[in-house]
């Protein structure tokens, strides 16, 4: 009887773990190039990476674009790579948004939601800051204007300084 109970509990634990396969702080970044075949993902080895999940229908995502552009322009030469992953189901929505909001960073279209399922962003937008070793160091849920922008700068500068 005790054996039966322990087996059931172990199974329950396993199922709960498999159901919540989100990317957390301290975990390695999933390979976007493998999740979205054919996507033009820049080389991220040895670089600080900011992965931002956005959508054309998400208001705060639109507001985050100028901030992400500034980050890429300011820290790109120092080793920062910003990747914007669109979760739009429709390619037209993605293209229209990308044309209207000029991005100075790389954009990839995750129409099949493979990357989104791997990262499992808790809200839109969600951004992940990854250190030079490929480990997720910070997760930003949502974009709260200048507050989030200041946090980005502090965290990215600290990670760029760490060799």
């Amino acid at each position: 009887m005790k054996y039966l109970l322990s087996v059931c509990l172990a199974l329950a634990c396993l199922c709960s773990i498999s159901a919540a396969d989100t990317v957390a702080v301290g975990q390695p970044m999933p390979k976007i190039s493998k999740l979205i075949p054919g996507a033009k993902v820049p080389n991220t080895s040895g670089k600080v990476v900011l992965v931002d999940f956005w959508a054309s229908w998400c208001g705060p995502c639109k507001k985050s674009f100028p901030v992400l552009n500034d980050l890429q322009n300011k820290y790109g030469s120092k080793g920062l790579v910003v990747i914007g992953v669109s979760v739009d189901e429709n390619a037209d929505d993605f293209n229209k948004f990308a044309t209207k909001n000029k991005a100075a960073f790389s954009l990839v279209h995750d129409a099949a939601h493979k990357a989104a399922a791997a990262f499992s962003p808790p809200t839109m937008p969600t951004s992940y800051i990854i250190d030079r070793k490929g480990v997720v160091r910070h997760i930003h849920k949502g974009f709260k204007g200048s507050k989030t922008a200041a946090e980005y700068v502090a965290e990215i500068e600290a990670l760029l300084a760490a060799k």
Binding site: C15, P60, V87, N90, H113, T123, M124
Partner: protein, 77 residues
């Protein structure tokens, strides 16, 4: 196998299978809310009519109000 053991095992198995699938099947993930965020999916399509109706109710009934929520269906931020 005793009847009570069998019942307990069945109950645990049912709980296990239901709990593991509910997370994925029931919830619409934040990145899947494109269709919910469309203007056509809004609860009230005519914002002017809504505000006028709410004003009329508010002027007549002191207890009215507080029914609104921030944001749309996209669940952004």
């Amino acid at each position: 196998m005793k009847r009570s053991t069998f019942l307990l095992f069945s109950f645990l198995l049912a709980t296990l299978s239901l709990s593991s699938c509910s997370q994925r099947l029931v919830r619409v993930q934040p990145y899947e809310r494109g269709n919910l965020a469309r203007p056509a999916m809004a609860e009230e399509l005519d914002s002017l009519q809504v505000s006028m109706t709410e004003h009329a109710y508010f002027s007549r009934e002191a207890s009215y109000g507080g029914g609104g929520v921030g944001g749309g269906g996209c669940g952004c931020n």
